[in-house]
Amino acid sequence: MSLTVLNAIIAVVIAIGFAALNAAYLVWAERRGAGRIQRRPGPNVNGPLGLLQPLADGAKLMTKQLMIPGGADKALFMVAPVLAMAPAIMSFVTIPFSDVIVAKSMDVGVLMIFAFASLGSMSILFAGWSSRNKYGVMASVRAVSQAISYEVPMLITVITIVMMTGSMNLHDLAVSQAGGFWHWNIIPSLASPLMPVSFLIFFICSLAETNRAPFDLGEAESELVAGFHTEYGSMGFGLFFMGEYANIVIGASLITILFLGGWGCPFGLFPSVFWFLLKIYLLIATFIWIRWTFPRTTIYGLLNLSWKILIPISLFNLLLTAGLLKVF
């Protein structure tokens, strides 16, 4: 009994630490990556390679005064940033980093991550509405309509995978792909020849769900000042930022577990947590690369892409997979 309580406490501490550390250093990685892609130096003054920059940023954000604009709804204004960060940390509870490193292996792990991710769009809505700023309201309406429309193809793709594996437990999903990259879900098999397309859909949807460019309509600086967090300063803004990067890590982990074999080695040797970390950081590097390479889309293009292209394709794939699973 006491051992399980201890386990839970250690897991929570590790989850919070991992999320915070990632959030801090992914900002650094993003700025360095942006600098490299745009042929300019990123943050390179503080410490070797600018590695102390996140600490300086954190100290600056925490020492700033928390300003609440005059007409704002104070309670919701304060709750929104917390609501952005808390579900992201909750989701880490059920993500298996390797065969043994998991805080709580749940039979409904996939559902749990999506259930808590849905709280994230609530935080955007509250942030935009409570700050009584028209840019904030416009941005939050945009961001939420985007989140709703991309949740649909994402969930349909997940259902396809769950149908093939027969489990919603993330651990089982990863174990079912053990032993070499030819077992991974991304490789087309007899039952699901369209798997690479599914992977692409899921990848695009996770870019959109985490509000990343080219789908960052919720924080389009050139149109909406800063988007839904226009009125936020100091650590309120910091929490939104950390929540965003924590969500990116969760998105990359989900892609890794659902499509890329979790902690399995591509050649079937030595499965371990290092493969998992390698895969998620490669995916995050791809996210950064895409963000600084492609321009932002328009809101119509964004919604059309989801409703007219991604949803029909993912539905077709679901029906095809269901039929082929019945045949083979």
Binding site: L76, V108, A115, M122, V141, S145
Partner: protein, 182 residues
């Protein structure tokens, strides 16, 4: 467990049962506070926030009652879909809503108090008079159990619910089409 346990025989606060009871009370308080916020808020968006708190409390209770699947569905559907749609509709309709109070209904005032008293009395009487029988555990409440039950024992209900959903989708399409042609 017999509902009329004497206080001296109740489990201690630091035993597993006692802590479970405290957790249950926290969930109960969350649900009730959320409900009160949802009913009494002056701004609609705050009411939605209260509704979310209430739903999360209910989801926690489902989890407490050993059915994580229903709990997660509660979060995903009620918080993730219903509340967001409500909030979305409010924001599209009136971003600068002013605190308006509609005309009071017939149940406001003394009649309302009488009604509330009657409902409370009835619920209390029902809770106290009923002989609660401990039921054996039917299954583990896993996804598989629920799926099997839905497609065998309750297949008729399942199909009827899907027809209701189909009708509502068609209705939504019809309404949307009419708006577009104008």
């Amino acid at each position: 467990m017999n509902p009329t346990v004497a206080l001296s025989q109740a489990p201690g606060l630091l035993t597993a049962d006692g802590l479970a009871g405290v957790v249950f009370l926290i969930m109960l308080a969350t649900t009730i506070i959320g409900g009160i916020i949802a009913c009494n808020a002056e701004r609609l968006v705050r009411a939605v926030a209260g509704l979310i708190v209430c739903f999360i409390g209910v989801a926690a209770m489902y989890y407490y009652l050993n059915s994580p699947f229903v709990a997660m569905m509660q979060m995903l559907i009620y918080v993730g879909a219903v509340c967001i749609t409500i909030a979305f509709a409010i924001m599209l309709a009136s971003p600068e809503e002013n605190k308006k109070h509609g005309p009071a209904g017939p149940l406001s005032g003394p009649l309302g108090i009488v009604t509330a008293g009657l409902v409370t009395f009835g619920m209390g009487a029902m809770a106290l008079k009923t002989d609660f029988i401990p039921m054996p555990k039917i299954n583990m409440g896993t996804v598989e159990n629920i799926g099997v039950e839905l497609l065998t024992t309750y297949s008729m209900v399942f199909e009827l619910v899907s027809i209701v959903l189909l009708i509502s989708i068609i209705g939504a399409l019809v309404i949307a089409r009419q708006g577009r042609s104008k």
